[in-house]
Symmetry: C2
Subunit: 413 residues, 2 copies
């Protein structure tokens, strides 16, 4: 079993890199967007912890970082653990970091117990998992898995125009290890659930059956600026109103049940010129759709596109869609799920099986080797992407105990 106090101390220490006082909640949150100065400081701290645990560290060309513990039989594919350490702008201490710091804690525990494994064990943390800075989530792991090219990823820009490549160079994490890594034996990621399923079931542990489909698009509606007081209602081309109707329709689609378990969110919306007495000439919004069913996801995207066409005509605005990210439903490896289940059973920890609502690096790595995930329950209904995100020391400890024992077993295969 791992050292829970040590794990907790590390989680709390890392939390302060990018830590800020959140006005909305009155809580201490974390703002550590990928490849920012905060991310760089966090990366250096985590690398130092990896080295202290005896790991050999390498950085690849998309900035993914791996720490390796040698196995007894050199040349065998490794057992890989991992996750990410970047956060959203209003994040908590657990999203991603639990899997990375938990992985280091697993290594320390093996070291202290003098346990050697047949296979090497590696920990990876992947670049821009959140996708909020450069617009594409699971970016580093998607490049490693070959779903996105290195060139595509390098050229993505943030809101200020900085590219991924420039930022990698700037923070000193433009590594030279090939982004297409040696194929692992298997991959397990421990992550907080970020949702209510485990809490509702009253268990600390979830075995993740897969990840639902994710669709991210940016929609720009262009109308015409005009005076708010003098312009007749019927002659307006109000881009803000059109955007509002899009938001309302997305919610209607979710409520209707026509698209199954569809979840839709408009997280960002900007109006130009953005003045009290000027009708908006331009509205740019992000559209985040999730669906556990690929067919229903495609149908939802199609309906929304048609609906936007119709309302654009009605409001005399033009609509331009930009694809940010799109993944299909990804099922996890049943054999690895079963190993995790048997481990939890052996530890006497009850669990449920559940599909993930959030995207995870594991869904990318699943394309190159057997992969699965351990979920850890969160409090407050599992709320995440807010400083209210919280998983207890015992829930975190239980999750990493499961991780440790599953890794130990698979590294011995």
């Amino acid at each position: 079993r791992i050292n829970r106090e040590r794990l907790w101390r590390d989680l709390m220490e890392l939390k302060e890199i990018g830590g800020y006082d959140d006005e909305a909640t009155g809580l201490r949150g974390v703002r550590r967007l990928a490849l920012t100065d905060e991310d760089a400081r966090a990366r250096r701290l985590v690398v130092s912890w990896m080295r202290q645990a005896g790991l050999k560290v390498r950085v690849d060309r998309i900035g993914n970082v791996y720490g390796e513990r040698a196995g007894e039989e050199p040349g065998l594919p490794c057992m890989l653990m991992g996750s990410h350490i970047d956060t959203v702008a209003t994040g908590g201490a657990f999203d991603g970091t639990l899997g990375v710091l938990g992985g280091i804690e697993v290594i320390r525990t093996l070291n202290e117990a003098g346990v050697r494994t047949r296979r090497p064990i590696e920990i990876g943390f992947f670049t821009e998992e959140e996708g909020v800075r450069f617009g594409t989530d699971m970016l580093g792991s998607a490049v490693t898995a070959g779903r996105l090219t290195l060139e595509y990823a390098h050229n993505l820009t943030d809101a200020g125009g900085a590219t991924v490549k420039d930022e990698l160079v700037r923070i000193g994490f433009d590594g030279d290890a090939p982004e297409i890594r040696p194929v692992p034996h298997a991959y397990i990621e421990c992550h907080i659930e970020q949702g209510p399923i485990l809490a509702t079931a009253g268990v600390d542990i979830g075995i993740v059956t897969g990840v639902q489909s994710i669709s991210w698009q940016r929609l720009t509606l262009r109308g015409e600026a005009a005076h708010a007081g003098t312009t007749p209602i019927e002659s307006r081309a109000d881009a803000g109103l059109a955007a509002a109707e899009v938001i309302v329709e997305i919610r209607r689609m979710c409520d209707s049940g026509e698209y199954g378990q569809l979840r839709g969110t408009v997280g960002d919306l900007r109006l130009l010129p953005g003045q009290t007495n000027v009708i908006p000439s331009e509205a740019t919004l992000t559209v985040d759709l999730r669906n556990p069913d690929d067919t229903l996801m495609t149908a939802a995207e199609k309906h929304l596109a048609e609906h936007v066409d119709a309302l654009s005509d009605r409001h005399r605005v033009t609509a331009a869609w930009e694809r940010m990210a799109r993944t299909a439903v990804i099922p996890f490896h049943e054999g690895i799920q079963d190993v995790i289940a048997e481990t939890a059973d052996a530890l006497g920890l009850p669990y449920v099986r559940a599909m993930s609502g959030a995207g995870h690096d594991a869904q990318e790595i699943a394309a190159i080797c057997p992969a699965a995930m351990v979920f850890v329950a969160g409090e407050n209904g599992g709320i995440s992407h807010t400083p209210r995100e919280y998983s207890s020391p015992s829930a975190c400890g239980n999750g990493i105990d499961v991780l440790a024992n599953a890794i130990l077993r698979l590294a011995g295969e």
Copy 2:
């Protein structure tokens, strides 16, 4: 008759102070927000033109600028002309400036013709007419008319926290003339219509019967940030969705006819934290309502407040309203309207009478003396608050000819 070429040259010269290339329209626009460096440069240029025309210039404590031409009988209340030279961030060359530069052109014409008048004639330009920087429109004229106190106006802040007082001092227009000025004999403002009524009627000239009621409020909706992928639809507190429903309801209110000729606009909306995969925790929007009927305006505000209460409950968000500006319907002086009508008749210029959709300094000055306005038609349906705003040299010339002759007559009374 005034010198149309000279007036046009001045309009085009002033346009370049704050001139910018507008991406949305591909046109040259004007961005000269009140009390910015651009406004300061424009003020200095206009003051120099006033002085060249022989006017004695004074600046009052809210930054309103007056230029005075002596009358034959000292001590008589003056005939006042005026308007404003600040613009919105996506403005054109005519909104406000026509009345100010036209007024200077009237003075030059009188000077050249060697005409003296019984009463003094003054031109005024008023601070922050647009209201887009500090949130309250007709600010300078409202202080002069006693509707708002100097202290209230001085303490208003822009989005960056700068106060009106600080900015007045910074740009050197914190004058010492009393803000409550000597009562004029009468006030006439020439302004572009900024709407389609004159163009539809096929005339260059409008005689303004009054200004409709204006209501500006800022609404802040607060919900809870949470993960877009994992948070069930039914447990969300999505401030962005609530804001979208407010926008859609405002449009429904306008379309329904329940509130007469209500016009409603949400020109600005900001979401926090503004990230693709985070449900918005906060939405702040401006609500601009206009109504030619005071009773229906009050009913519209009441309905909207109740509707927002209901939808806030439904979405588990809180709603906080902040009053930015509010004016009742202001009728203009019928005697002055008739003088303008007789002047237009004498010049052979057809006109229509119409209520103003936009707010104007004249509606404030109307509280202290008889006041009315001359409207000048615009092209492209009279569109304004966009670089597409355009009134032809002949329409502008006709409007200022009417102004000149009406002023001449009233200054002789």
